[in-house]
Symmetry: D2
Subunit: 122 residues, 4 copies
């Protein structure tokens, strides 16, 4: 079942062209993943960080259409695959029916020393 | 010939795990592209924006190794292909000899209304 | 009557010391002011920007106690004075009963050319 | 003797009004303070953080004139007072002769537990 969050495009997200500055999309993606760990997995990142971490090791993103200040975006996260130490996520952002961006990312669970470790989230 | 910029990893780039928060890498990439347009192409983005824009429409990124506060990164930009309205860039960041991330991006030149237009930069 | 918004301290807000990086507080303040214009005044910033702007001309801030990842902050905004072209705001952030920061800011309403203009918001 | 750094206003700093988004100024101020600790005091923040920290406890800022994309800012830092555990800094940003902002800040040296401690920087 997909996990969704709503995100209004705010002043801080926008650039001189009046559209979202794309590094800000990655902050939105990170916030969405953080909410997913908290709400869907029941493992808040702030707790998980005491014993490990979940760095993003890859992210491929397509920006399909620009987003403007005031747009209401729906970010939809689908967990596509859970590996032994990794997680593949697909995040799609839409405004009304229009896709604004799509991202495929791989996260890896690591222990305190940064070495890949088995998920303890399931 | 590759275009390079040096970027020290600063306090603002780093997260509670003590490594670069990956959305900050996209700001570094954007700064590098901006410097490339200014220095190598002789078309400062602040001038180009008066008549158009260069939105990033795709970026695929692999984060190979973490970067820590104080690391000195070398970002190397290679222009891989100039299309009629697009530009394919490869950006690789290294600290000493170690690769930290690699990104492949596509930028599109657009006019004031946001429609793809022929490059005027060559 | 004070205007309040809740803001969870997220991963993106925090620095290598594990506490909020203070420039991120100013983004929270800006988001709070944006929500106040939208909700309390009925003048969304994205609409107001079509004919003018509301730059911050002064902000004095005291950071009383650090905030950590996962803390739930309440930002309380009080409009202290509405001048002919300016607005004085007080924003206080608390976690439970503890004050984390207090800010006093002055915003000015400007027209398209950047010249101070009479508020049209009342 | 004042400490100065040059900072070009980049695309990432600017908002839909085409001027610097003021939270970005605080990132510039933080970068300037970080460079001051490294260059003038010979105590890089990344080293200092191993045994303590230097949180900003107060900052009062006046934004005198807007800065636009492409402007070259000079940030001038003057250390106004060194207390037992605190530091008072004045930072002024100019473009050519025009003042863009002025900030007065207080930093406190703290140990690993966050308690104020005597400077070891002198």
């Amino acid at each position: 079942m997909p996990f969704t969050v709503m995100q209004k495009v705010l002043f801080k997200h926008c650039d001189p062209a009046g559209i979202v500055f794309y590094p800000r999309y990655f902050e939105m993606i990170n916030d969405c993943v953080e909410a997913f760990f908290d709400t869907s997995l029941g493992h808040p990142i702030e707790v998980l960080l005491r014993t490990g971490g979940v760095p993003t090791v890859r992210i491929d993103t397509t920006f399909t259409a620009p987003s403007r200040h005031g747009d209401m975006l729906e970010l939809r996260l689908v967990c596509e695959r859970i590996g032994r130490t990794s997680l593949n996520l697909n995040i799609t952002a839409r405004c009304a029916r229009e896709i604004r961006f799509q991202a495929n990312s791989t996260l890896v669970y690591v222990d305190k020393r940064g070495a890949p470790a088995r998920w303890k989230i399931t």
